[in-house]
């Protein structure tokens, strides 16, 4: 498993490599939810998401021999960029397997951090097979996006900084996809504020964690259809067991609720946050009667979202 001590050790290990992201507050948000909210802004983290914390924590603990072999991961999103950048900073060769229909921006960013990108057909099965073949032929070290105690401990350092900065909290919310962030967040929160409640928030359209939590049996995510692209993955045995032990409840939110929370963050708080990052605020607004006048921490997990459409529109405006 993963302990609170692992999170503290991870923070000591990665603190010089990460950005200690700001905590933001908003009177308007506090009025809306009738509580005091502290937003930990991981959209300002390196590569634009909390994922860098876990990737750097895992890669920096590889042995010299493992570092020489190089690392591999499969990801269409933030984890691939996080592994690419952490590897670059540590002088390790990285390979990222990406679905061939990934956006040009994501491919460019991953390559920009110096990783070798290998394209495959856009199915989970092919992605895993391609990765496995490369591991067998090149002896690469696999860096899993969440099913790894070092990744989970790294993810927990965001809540660690948040609570160290603002003091005791009554409630902490984080999104749940594969479960790495919520696991690290829950372990850290219970370590620093034992009486605080920890809520995971999940899209209704990808509610495998909710169903697993309520039934006590691990369900996979089947054809999740949510705008929160970072939360389409399934829990692992490891993250499920941590969630069962440390998370108080799982709240599900609709696509409309996600978009409404995201719009609030952009329009009122001036924060570019990706849909997955807006999910915990959507969850908080749903349970606001339960948390009135409490001190609430929210992990804004990332800000990587395609803004081409609005800039293409503005570009047309200035050239017409």
């Amino acid at each position: 498993m993963v302990s609170f001590g692992d999170v503290k050790a991870a923070h000591d290990r990665i603190r010089k490599a990460i950005i200690e992201t700001p905590v933001m507050t908003s009177l308007t948000a506090n009025q809306l939810a009738n509580c005091s909210i502290f937003f930990k802004c991981e959209n300002f983290q390196r590569i634009g998401a909390f994922k860098f914390r876990g990737a750097f924590n895992a890669l920096s603990q590889l042995s010299t021999e493992e570092k020489a072999r190089g690392v591999i991961t499969h990801s269409s999103g933030n984890h691939g960029q996080a592994v690419a950048l952490a590897a670059k900073m540590l002088g390790i060769k990285a390979t990222v397997v990406m679905p061939k229909n990934s956006s040009q921006a994501k491919i460019a960013a991953t390559k920009g951090y110096g990783a070798t990108v290998v394209f495959c057909e856009p199915t989970v099965l092919v992605r895993e097979e391609t990765t496995q073949e490369l591991i067998e032929s090149h002896k690469y070290i696999l860096v899993h996006p969440y099913d790894d105690p070092k990744i989970i401990a790294g993810a927990g350092t965001a809540a660690f900084e948040l609570i160290n900065e603002v003091g005791t909290l009554d409630v902490v919310l984080a999104p749940v996809g594969g479960g790495g962030l919520i696991s690290g967040t829950a372990i850290t929160t219970k370590g620093l504020c034992p009486s605080a409640k920890v809520f995971a928030v999940e899209p209704e359209q990808a509610n495998d964690a909710y169903r697993s939590f309520k039934s006590g049996k691990l369900y996979p995510s089947i054809n999740p259809n949510t705008i929160a692209d970072g939360l389409r993955t399934s829990l692992s045995e490891l993250t499920f067991s941590i969630i069962q032990q440390h998370v108080d409840d799982i709240i599900t939110v609709s696509e409309d609720e996600i978009l409404e929370a995201m719009r609030f963050l952009w329009e009122r708080m001036k924060l570019v946050v990706e849909p997955s990052g807006a999910v915990p605020l959507a969850g908080l607004l749903k349970i606001k009667r339960q948390v009135s006048n409490q001190r609430v921490g929210i992990i804004l997990s990332g800000g990587n979202v395609d803004i081409s459409r609005i800039f293409d529109h503005w570009h047309k405006e200035i050239t017409k």
Copy 2:
């Protein structure tokens, strides 16, 4: 005129009402411009722009008799909201004259801060006449958006906080429209770092300040056609004379350059910044050879921009 002492006094006066906005840095931005940039994020200021500083500074100095009469301004943008909120916080009745084609979001925000909105035909002449009539019939106090030493001193408090936080700077850049922000910024910068250079940055499509500065003769802005809607106004005699005395040069930037800088701020730095707020970064990128390895301050003036289009698109995506 306005002195550095006026800015310090303004900061003492308004410090409990304003947000001391964060200063952000970005390794990617530093690499791009080959210098160390400190962004003063006034998009996180109350009402989403630096304008609140001047409005609160001016309104808080009204006499009891003036406060009882109430204040008025004409504005289609940030200044109207700033006056409305400052008036609400100080218990003063505020009237804002707005063009009847103002966006619903701006009208709602201004009313939301408790101001009475009076609509008029969308021309500068009618706006001024309508305001004048209301002043004559109601004895309201006019709060000009920039042609006022108290507004200028308040605007200067952003640079005051920036330099106090990060230390001596070699260069400071701010956008120029009516000239209130650049005037306050220049007075403050020369007061705290006498050897620093201050550059005003202006859209080519609204280059009245540039032409005035270069010719020594005050030109008005005629039919400015720029996406940077906060910078379409003309200098006043007061702001022009401060600029002539304290600003080292004026840089003009194209519409493409503004949009490119704005996209960088959104995509890489995760900051929702309005076009006017991106103008100084566009200017810096234009003169980067001149500032290599220097310490550069940038005032990101605001973040109020209509994001309906991209959210309407996402809303269609989730409902299809």
